[in-house]
C-alpha cells in the first residue's frame, strides 16, 4: 500500500485490511481463475443476425442502450437523440418528435444492453431489428453480442437523429446485416482477438483506434465480399471501406464474451463490467450482481475538433470500456501512436498510461503483446482493491460527443473512471464475508 492508502478514507482502509489480509488467499484464488478466463478463451465471430433472433430476453418495443439502467428523464441529450432515431428506424414512430413522445410516455421500454449479454459503443441505442455480431466463447460457455458499427459522420451512435442518421440504421438492417451474415458464415469462425493481437502491434489500442484491425479484418473477408450478390455488395464495400472503427464493436462483443465467463467466478475483486450512459458510470466485480454507480466523468485528456471544447462536451459514454477490462484500450496505450497524440504526443506518454494500468491490474495478457513495452503483455484484470488502495482508476480511450446540440462527435480523449464506484464495490466485497 502507499503511504496514504485509500486516500486516508477510514472505511476503505478497514475494507482493504480485510481484503488484503485474512481474505486475500480466497480472493487471490478467485482472481487467478478470473484472469485465466479473461486470458485463455478464444472468442470467435460465428454469425450476424437480427438482435430479436439471438439476443436473450429481448422483448418487442424495447430499446437497448449503453451503460447502466436509466430513466428517460435522466437520459443525456446524445443518448435521447440516438433512442429517438432507433425508435423511428424500428417503425414505431413516424418521426423523432413522435418518438420522443413514445419514449417520454414509457411506450417504448429502455433496458441496458449489458443486461442482455450485449455491448454498445458511445450513445448507441438499438431495437430488435438491429443486426448484431454473434461472438461465441466456447471455452467459457458464453455468447455475447454487439451491433454492427454505424460508421463515422452523421450517425445515431454519436447522438445524431437526422434523416441521414436514421437512413444509416435502415441500411444496416436492410442491406448490411444479411450480407455480413453471408460473409461471416462463408468465412467460418473468425478468431476476433487474434486480429486484435495483430492490431496491437500495428498501433491500435483497439478502442479509440481500430485502423489496423479493421483493415486486417476486411482483407480476411475480401474473397467473401467479392462473392456477395450485387448491388448491395458495392454499397457495403463503400461503407466498410470508409469506417475505420468497423472492428470496434466486434472487439467489444469478444471482450464481453470473456467478462461474462469471468463474472461466474464468486468472490473476486476483479472488475468485469465497466459501462457508462452519459449520466452514470457503473462497475461490477466478478461474482456479484450489483452495479456500483458514480456520476459519469468528463473526458479529460482530450483533443477537440475546431470550435469545440470541454464546455460543450458530454460526459464519458458507452459500453466500450469493456475493452479496458481485457487488456485493450487504455491498457494497450503504450503501443498506440494515436493514443499518444492525446497524451502529450510521445510514446513515453502512452507507456505511462499502460504502466499506471499495470499498477492496478492483477496480471498481464498473454495475447496482447506490446513491442514498445519490451513485448510484455498488456495489463489484465483491473483489481478494485488496487484501485482504491492507490487511488488510481482505469484510463479509458474514447470519443467525445456534444452535450446538447445534436452535432455528434466533437473530439476524442482519455477518460479516468470515477473512484467512488470502486470504493463502493470494495466496501461491498468486504461486507460480503
Amino acid at each position: 500500500m502507499t503511504a496514504s492508502p485509500a486516500g486516508g478514507d477510514a472505511g476503505s482502509i478497514a475494507a482493504l485490511e480485510q481484503l488484503y489480509g485474512p481474505r486475500s488467499e480466497s480472493i487471490d484464488r478467485a482472481n487467478a481463475e478470473v484472469l485465466r478466463r479473461l486470458d485463455e478463451s478464444v472468442p470467435v465471430l460465428v454469425d450476424v443476425a437480427a438482435a430479436r433472433d439471438v439476443v436473450p430476453q429481448l422483448a418487442d418495443r424495447t430499446l437497448l442502450h449503453c451503460g447502466p439502467q436509466v430513466e428517460w428523464d435522466a437520459v443525456c441529450d446524445p443518448l435521447r437523440r440516438s433512442l429517438r432515431a432507433a425508435a423511428v428506424a424500428e417503425g414505431w414512430a413516424a418521426d423523432v418528435e413522435q418518438a420522443d413522445r413514445l419514449l417520454a410516455d414509457g411506450d417504448v421500454r429502455l433496458e441496458p444492453a449489458t443486461d442482455h449479454a450485449t455491448v454498445v459503443p458511445m450513445a448507441t441505442a438499438m431495437g430488435p431489428s438491429t443486426p448484431v455480431f454473434v461472438v461465441e466463447n466456447r471455452q467459457g460457455g458464453t455468447r455475447a453480442f454487439a451491433p454492427v458499427n454505424q460508421g463515422p459522420g452523421e450517425t445515431a451512435w454519436f447522438g445524431r437523429e437526422t434523416p441521414a442518421a436514421i437512413a444509416r440504421l435502415e441500411f444496416l438492417r436492410d442491406v448490411a446485416g444479411q450480407l455480413l451474415r453471408e460473409m461471416v458464415v462463408a468465412a467460418g469462425p473468425i478468431d476476433v482477438l487474434a486480429l486484435a493481437a495483430q492490431g496491437v502491434q500495428m498501433g491500435d489500442d483497439v478502442h479509440m483506434r481500430t485502423q489496423g484491425t479493421t483493415s486486417l479484418l476486411i482483407r480476411n473477408l475480401l474473397p467473401h465480399l467479392a462473392a456477395l450478390p450485387s448491388p448491395g455488395r458495392i454499397e457495403l464495400a463503400g461503407f466498410m471501406s470508409g469506417n475505420h472503427l468497423f472492428f470496434l464493436n466486434l472487439a467489444m462483443a469478444a471482450a464481453r464474451s470473456l467478462t461474462l465467463a469471468a463474472e461466474q467466478v464468486a468472490g473476486s475483486s476483479i472488475v468485469t463490467t465497466m459501462c457508462r450512459n452519459g449520466t452514470t458510470f457503473g462497475i461490477r466485480l466478478a461474482g456479484t450482481n450489483t452495479l456500483f454507480l458514480s456520476d459519469a466523468p468528463p473526458v479529460e485528456d482530450a483533443m477537440y475538433y475546431p470550435d469545440f471544447g470541454p464546455d460543450v462536451a458530454a460526459p464519458d459514454i458507452g459500453d466500450s470500456a469493456v475493452l479496458e477490462l481485457i487488456g485493450l484500450g487504455g491498457a494497450a496505450a503504450a503501443g498506440s501512436p494515436a493514443v499518444a497524440g492525446f497524451l502529450g504526443g510521445r510514446i513515453s506518454d502512452a507507456v505511462a498510461v499502460t504502466e499506471e494500468m499495470a499498477m492496478i491490474c492483477a496480471g498481464n495478457s498473454s495475447r496482447f503483446q506490446l513491442p514498445t513495452w519490451d513485448y510484455r503483455g498488456t495489463p489484465l484484470g483491473v483489481d478494485a482493491r488496487h484501485v482504491v488502495d492507490l487511488g488510481i482508476a482505469p484510463k479509458i480511450t474514447t470519443g467525445i460527443l456534444h452535450a446538447s446540440s445534436g452535432i455528434g462527435q466533437i473530439g476524442a480523449g482519455v477518460a479516468t473512471a470515477p473512484l467512488a464506484c470502486f470504493r463502493a464495490a470494495v466496501l461491498d466485497l468486504a461486507a460480503d464475508a
Copy 2:
C-alpha cells in the same frame, strides 16, 4: 571522420579529403537538391498496363531482370528459374527445358529492369506481357514501373519454375492486370507514399513487411473491387487477400520514380540506385551513369525456415533496395517489430539499425515519421562519402532464397551492402573533378 577513416585505405582517404574539403560546398549543394527531390515529390499510382505498352524501350523477346546486367552463364540459380518461367509464360517456350535452351543460346535477350525505369523484387524476371504498376512523379517529371507482386508460395519471383509458378504469371497477365487497371482508373491517382507513411506507423518497414500498407490499400480499393465484373473479381480478391506483400512492388515503383528524378542532379555523393541480381550488387550516385559493382553479399542477420540455413542460402537479390534509398526498409527499421524480430527481438535492436543508417544519410524524411524514434523522420539520402568514411554500409531488409534447389524462399533477414562498390563510387566522384 572517425579515428581510422575509410578503414585506413589511402586512396579512399585522399578521395574523401577532396570530397569533404574543397569539393564539399558543391557536393553539399547537389546533395540538398537530391534530398529535396527524394523528399518532396508525391508519386501517384495512375495505371496498371502491360509492360510492352508503357515501359520505355522494351523490345520483344526481352526479359527484364533484377539487379545489374548479367550474362546467362553468370546468372544465379533462382533467377535462372524465374527467367525460364517467364519465357514459358510469354509463350516463347513450351516448357522450362526449351526455355533454358533459348536463354542459353541468347534467343531471349536479358536486360536489367533498372535500365527501363522499372524495379523488380527478389528474383523477378518479366516479359513484355507482364502487368506493371505505372507510378507518376509529376513534380519530378518521371514515371517508374514495377510488376504486380506475384504473391507468396510457389512463385517465380522466389526462384520457382513449377507449373503453379507459371500459372501465377498467366493469372496476373490474363486476369489480375485488367481488373487492377479498372480499379486504379476508377479510384483515381493514389498517393502511394501517403499509404507508406501510415504503414510506417503500423509496424511496416515497407520492405520486408508491408502488412499494414497492403491492408490499407485494399481497404481504399474495396468499393472499386466490389464493382468489378465476375468471375475474375473473386479470384483477384482471393489473390490480394492472401498476399501480404502486395504493396511491396508499388512502393518500389514509387521509390524509383523519386530516385529517377534525383539521378538528374549532377555531382552528388548520394546513392540513387542500389540493386542486386544474386551475383553482383550495384550502386550508382546521382548524376553519373556508372553502376559500381561488388559481389552480391550474403544475408547475415537472418531467420530461416526449419531445415534451412546459411549453407544453402542464395546471396542478397532484387531491386527492392531502392526502398532503403528513400527512407524505408532498413532506414525505417525502428518502427517495425517484425524487423526487430530478425535483430535480437527488441525494438531497441531495430532502432540501432535506423540510427546506423542515420550516420550515413544526408538528411531525414519529412514523410516517414517513426513514433519509436521520437517521431523523427527516417534517415534519407545515403551519402557514399559517409559510408566509406565510417565503414558503415546500408542495411537492407529482405527475403532469402534457396541457392540451388528451386524450393523458393527459405527465410528472411537483414543484408549489409558491400563496401567495395561505395569505395569505387567515391574514388570515381573524386576523380571527376
